[in-house]
């Protein structure tokens, strides 16, 4: 009944058609009222296009015939005035039930036609698909490549938790992956290994851990990082006094814990102490970014100097975990007395001079 009324009301516009051309060249005939619902088509019509087959309105490239028919269905329904909210909502719910690829194409096409209500509808549907899902699930739905490194995958705000343990473990995983990659690379490319003197940091660690110069076994895969270590000495002079006291404290702690090394919780405790100590040792330092530095690390929000320390820590931790505990314990106990015999002739770090001095005092 209503259909007939409408036709009587506007006789001159009875089933007027206009012509639309899609990106693939095909031309379609569409009812005028339906097409007018799209602002972009509306504009074109007003400027005289689309009235005949020879002058069709060219639709943007993102609109292919299949998507166009969907859009026209939407317009056909919504352009009829007097639809109740309930009706429209129910239609919309059914309308957006389609596979993800099509939904994305539809969103893109609706945007290029400036059809805001449809863009809103499809965006809401896409948002619903993302909400509450894990990153893996979302990557799966939208076929996103998994091309972030481990650190990058840490959520930016979650990552600022002040928990050295989490950071260390994350770095460990990252390190492992990179090591694998490096091994692959090294197989193909000849890389001259620089024997950079990195004993300063190494020995610092050894001192803390109650070991002697075992550190030479450290992998030198991160050559670039070693270069940075050189810059270390100048900056550490400021934190000398604090460092020494802390080292002594940590020492005492470690002594106390000697016998309980294979308890995992204690291990964590040691690790957290390590983290705290290293942090205290190096808080004020901030290094300018090195050009040769890995792009990934620049994104990291941990202070670069801190990062180095953590790198070392992680390597040690990894080594420790992999080695056999009783042997280690013996080693540690036996080396306990040896640490006082550290040579004083270390060439880089001012702080070691302090430690050496400390040693001399203790003697």
């Amino acid at each position: 009944m209503a259909e007939a009324d409408r036709e009587i009301i506007k006789p001159e516009m009875m089933k007027s058609y206009i012509w639309l051309q899609t990106s693939d060249g095909s031309i379609q005939q569409v009812e005028l009222e339906v097409a007018m619902f799209c602002p972009m088509i509306c504009k074109e019509i007003h400027s005289g296009m689309g009235s005949s087959k020879n002058y069709p309105i060219s639709l943007p490239s993102r609109v292919n015939p299949a998507i166009l028919s969907l859009i026209l269905d939407y317009c056909r329904f919504h352009q009829i005035p007097g639809r109740s909210n309930k009706e429209m909502k129910s239609f919309d719910e059914k309308f957006i039930r389609m596979d993800t690829k099509r939904l994305c194409e539809l969103t893109s096409a609706a945007d290029s036609l400036k059809l805001k209500p449809l863009v809103d509808l499809t965006s809401r549907a896409l948002a619903r698909m993302i909400e509450g899902k894990t990153p893996e699930e979302i990557r799966d739905i939208f076929h996103l490549p998994d091309d972030l490194t481990e650190e990058e995958k840490l959520e930016p705000i979650k990552n600022t938790i002040d928990d050295p343990r989490i950071r260390l473990l994350n770095r460990l995983y990252a390190r492992k992956r990179k090591e694998l990659k490096e091994r692959e690379r090294l197989k193909n490319v000849d890389v001259e290994e620089e024997h950079v003197d990195d004993r300063s940091v190494e020995d610092l660690l050894s001192f803390i851990n109650g070991r002697n110069s075992d550190s030479k076994g450290v992998k030198t895969s991160k050559n670039k990082r070693k270069n940075r270590t050189r810059k270390d000495p100048q900056r550490n002079t400021s934190s000398n006094s604090t460092s020494s006291t802390n080292v002594v404290n940590v020492d005492k702690e470690f002594n106390g814990l000697d016998l309980t090394y294979h308890d995992p919780s204690t291990c964590d405790h040691i690790l957290s102490n390590l983290g705290k100590t290293l942090k205290l040792l190096n808080i004020e330092d901030s290094f300018p970014p090195d050009d040769g530095f890995d792009g990934d690390d620049l994104d990291d929000d941990i202070d670069p100097a801190m990062k180095e320390k953590i790198d070392r820590e992680v390597e040690d931790f990894a080594r420790r975990l992999n080695s056999h505990w009783p042997e280690r314990m013996q080693e540690i106990l036996s080396l306990g007395q040896e640490r006082r015999r550290l040579p004083t002739a270390f060439n880089c770090n001012g702080s070691f001079r302090t430690y050496a001095r400390l040693d001399q005092q203790q003697k």
Partner: protein, 423 residues
């Protein structure tokens, strides 16, 4: 094109669409998209609408210190954010006054924020820092539980269209100044203000909602006002003020609103209107007034009844009427002047458009029944009249029904629905 070859379905959509999608997600999920892929790493940082609530930080941190968690979350997010921020909404019960909020507000004042909404927890009310008054582009402002103290040189929010102040402590003069210094103001909501005498000058105001203990409300310059909703609470002070008032309140309130489309009055509103009824009123017609809802009308007070009558008789296009009574006595009053109905309007006056009437909390007292009778006689196109008796009145219901049945109806289509059990 083969789906697998192309892969990525969504990352290459225009940035505006991505932002629309991200804005429709809760903020946590929006940030989490940075872990999806290389292209998505920084897509979230340019979203312009930031909405925070108590759920934001809780799953990130396991520590019980929710206030710190939320503060850290928001601060870090603002650090990572890039670009303008058009909307900032914070609604939390954990956070009270905090120096961090002041810092955020200062930060946002440089980001072109247009919509600001802050609702903090019960407790010490947040004192708005002076940088709030530097938000030059502000169009929406919503504050709950805070202290506002505009600096003396404050010239107003020149773009402000929507203002909502709930439980806000502000010197009374400043409230009026604030409102009148926002020339584009279209919607004003003031809730839970104490002992306020309000004079409104807002030439563009279309929507007004007031709730609180108002001594006086004068709509001095609000020619475009279309919807008014007022709930007035009573205190002894206010009651006394009414006693000694020498003005005609209906004039003050409804005198300058010819474009009124909807009027909602609650609690003591009709009492307020009734003050000064006998002092001669200017008759304006409210040609656009279509819906009138007046609740808690005391039908035992003649003046209040007259006020209600005045309003509806001045609205020739009234479509919908809802009235609720407030008396809970079922005693029949002394037969007072029954001719009041005819005094207000001539016998031939008809409510030509009145289709729906709903009267609730009916106790069956004289004036209530008189009112119903009046409406039935003068509403030729009435479709439905619903009458719901007060829950306190059980005995008088039969009497009510007996009377109802007897009343003449001008409309042949009228259905009088007496609701026995209110579900």
């Amino acid at each position: 094109m083969d789906d697998d070859l192309r892969g990525d379905l969504i990352s290459d959509l225009p940035q505006s669409i991505i932002e629309t999608i991200l804005t429709k997600l809760p903020i946590k999920d929006a940030i989490r998209t940075s872990t999806l892929s290389r292209k998505w790493r920084y897509k979230w940082t340019t979203i312009t609408d930031l909405v925070f609530n108590d759920k934001c930080a809780s799953s990130y941190y396991d520590r019980p210190n929710s206030e710190n968690n939320l503060v850290n979350f928001i601060t870090h997010l603002l650090f990572l954010h890039d670009g303008p921020i058009h909307k900032f909404a914070l609604s939390t019960s954990f956070l009270q006054s905090s120096p961090d909020i002041d810092q955020w507000l200062l930060f946002l004042s440089r980001k072109g924020t247009k919509e600001l909404s802050i609702e903090l927890g019960e407790g010490e009310w947040f004192r708005a820092p002076s940088c709030l008054f530097m938000y030059s582009k502000l169009t929406h402002l919503e504050l709950v539980r805070c202290e506002l103290d505009p600096p003396p040189h404050f010239k107003g929010f020149l773009c402000l269209k929507y203002l909502n102040l709930q439980q806000v402590l502000m010197p009374p003069d400043d409230i009026e100044n604030l409102i009148s210094s926002c020339p584009l103001l279209e919607s004003l909501t003031l809730s839970y203000f104490d002992s306020l005498e309000l004079t409104l000058c807002a030439p563009n105001l279309k929507y007004l909602s007031l709730e609180g203990e108002f001594l006086d409300i004068c709509l001095e310059n609000t020619p475009r006002l279309a919807t008014v909703s007022v709930a007035m609470y009573m205190t002894d002070d206010i009651a006394e003020h009414f006693e000694h008032s020498s003005s005609c309140n209906i004039d003050k309130f409804l005198g300058g609103v010819p474009c009124l489309e909807r009027l909602v009055g609650q609690i003591y509103f009709t009492k307020y209107l009734s003050v000064g009824m006998d002092r001669g009123i200017n008759r304006i017609k409210y040609d656009r007034l279509k819906i009138v809802e007046l609740y808690q009308v005391n039908f035992e007070d003649l003046n209040e009844v007259l006020a209600v009558l005045h309003v509806i008789v001045s609205s020739p296009n009234l479509k919908e009427l809802q009235i609720s009574g407030s008396s809970n006595t079922s005693a029949a009053l002394l037969a007072s002047d029954l001719g009041i109905w005819e005094k207000e309007c001539s016998k031939d006056y008809m409510f030509d458009q009145l289709k729906t009437v709903k009267i609730t909390e009916v106790s069956g007292i004289l004036h209530e029944m008189g009112f119903i009778k009046f409406l039935l006689v003068h509403s030729p196109v009435l479709k439905e009249m619903t009458i719901i008796p007060s829950a306190y009145v059980t005995d008088g219901r039969l009497n009510m029904l007996v009377n109802l049945v007897r009343y003449r109806r001008a409309s042949a289509q009228a259905e009088v629905i007496f609701v026995q059990e209110q579900l």
